[in-house]
Assembly symmetry: none
Homo-oligomer: 253 residues x 2
């Protein structure tokens, strides 16, 4: 069963040019050449190509693939592990870029849009999706479950419900600011008591664990959500984030 370039290309989803290129690069030679100079591939080459595409999908460079495919299983595992490491770095870097973009957007919108901003913004339904993604990005599967539950709860909220929840949020912010203005530190009993209300209030939207509530404190400082807090007081995000971290450490298992 001999395949021509076109057929193999169609079967595997790569282009004819790619097959030419892999031949030229010594990565995948045809089984034999016809008298006409045509390339003919067979079963073995098909399997080989699948291997190549697999590693390509994993982001390996072709020269690395060439090396990997000529090695023992053991070495392949080592290569995969090392590659995994670099992908993790990529992941962290990409996440950082997203944070940077958030900051920048916020900075640019800040001056213009800050005024007419909804104080509750950031928790409104339209923002939910973003929030979710952010949480999932940071905390993975564990977050997903809590979010799903919360969605169920919030599903049938009326506008009045949203406004009530928003009012509660505004009150929490005001209370914190008031305490801060009195000069109370983040770890004072009164501040921590309001933070507890915040923690409980947040549970309408997801189920914070110790890590994710602490993580959320960073979200407040970094992400778009910051605006929702900043709108009340420029120092609120920083102050509150500090208080939240203390709360998480002290009170959450």
């Amino acid at each position: 069963m001999a395949y021509t370039v076109k057929k193999l290309a169609a079967m595997s989803g790569v282009s004819v040019r790619t097959l030419h290129f892999y031949d030229e690069a010594g990565l995948l030679k045809p089984a034999y050449h016809g008298a006409n100079g045509y390339r003919y591939y067979e079963e073995a080459q098909l399997l080989m190509l699948q291997q190549i595409l697999f590693y390509r999908e994993l982001g390996f460079e072709l020269k690395d693939i060439k090396r990997i495919l000529g090695r023992s299983d053991f070495d392949k595992v080592a290569a995969l592990k090392s590659h995994r490491k670099s992908l993790r770095k990529t992941l962290a870097h990409t996440r950082q870029l997203i944070v940077t973009i958030d900051k920048t957007i916020q900075h640019m919108e800040g001056t213009r849009k800050m005024k007419d901003t909804e104080l509750f913004e950031g928790f409104s339904p339209e923002q939910q999706a973003k929030q979710e993604q952010y949480l999932i990005d940071r905390f993975g599967e564990e977050a997903r479950a809590g979010i799903a539950q919360a969605k169920e709860r919030v599903k049938d909220w009326t506008k009045a419900d949203w406004e009530k929840s928003g009012a509660a949020f505004v009150k929490i912010c005001r209370d914190i600011i008031a305490l801060k203005e009195q000069g109370l530190p983040e770890d004072s009993r009164k501040v921590q008591a309001v933070i507890r209300r915040h923690y409980e209030w947040l549970q309408q939207f997801w189920t914070p664990t110790r890590e994710s509530y602490a993580g959320h404190s960073q979200t407040i400082e970094d992400s778009e959500l910051r605006k929702a807090y900043e709108a009340h007081h420029p120092e609120l995000p920083k102050f509150m984030a500090a208080a939240m971290r203390i709360f998480a450490q002290r009170e959450l298992t």
Copy 2:
């Protein structure tokens, strides 16, 4: 305050060649050229370069950067938002790649051990989780306690410990096979004696009750664990399962 290429390069961390390239690409022209043909940059160009580097860091292509920097703030925000979206996709994709790599590594480590005839597989740490789930599914809470205890015991095992335990397992299998080859039936005294050793050996990993040991006999015939036994002899799972059921009925309360 005019900067030459070298100085600007040193200040900003890019290469001289990059500055040449940006000039050529129309992305960053020097403030003026000296009579000698030298490029001279000033404050404004420095700021511009920082902008360029910022967008570059965010992963924009140079031609996009060129467009973005020539536009109003509003469009910049739009560009950032759209770019943010694509970064999120990248993030998801990268995560998927890591999952794929993990799966592959597991698969490869699995088959490699088979080849090396690590016949102990199926009781190796990686397989523990599956095993546990299986037991819990079948026997619920009662199993959970036994497993937890065993985990505690096994926690600090060195590689040598694992090998010792593996060797014991291999010996049990060999002994059973030998007896079987001699034509002894499952309920013979000799076979049952070896089965007792198997029962005791198993307690390293959990605490079989009468039901769960009998249940385990079925696991040996059905689940992935079967391979660990089958590797010794194709008939071993069946023969041994029968012997185990007899043992459970006769000896366990």
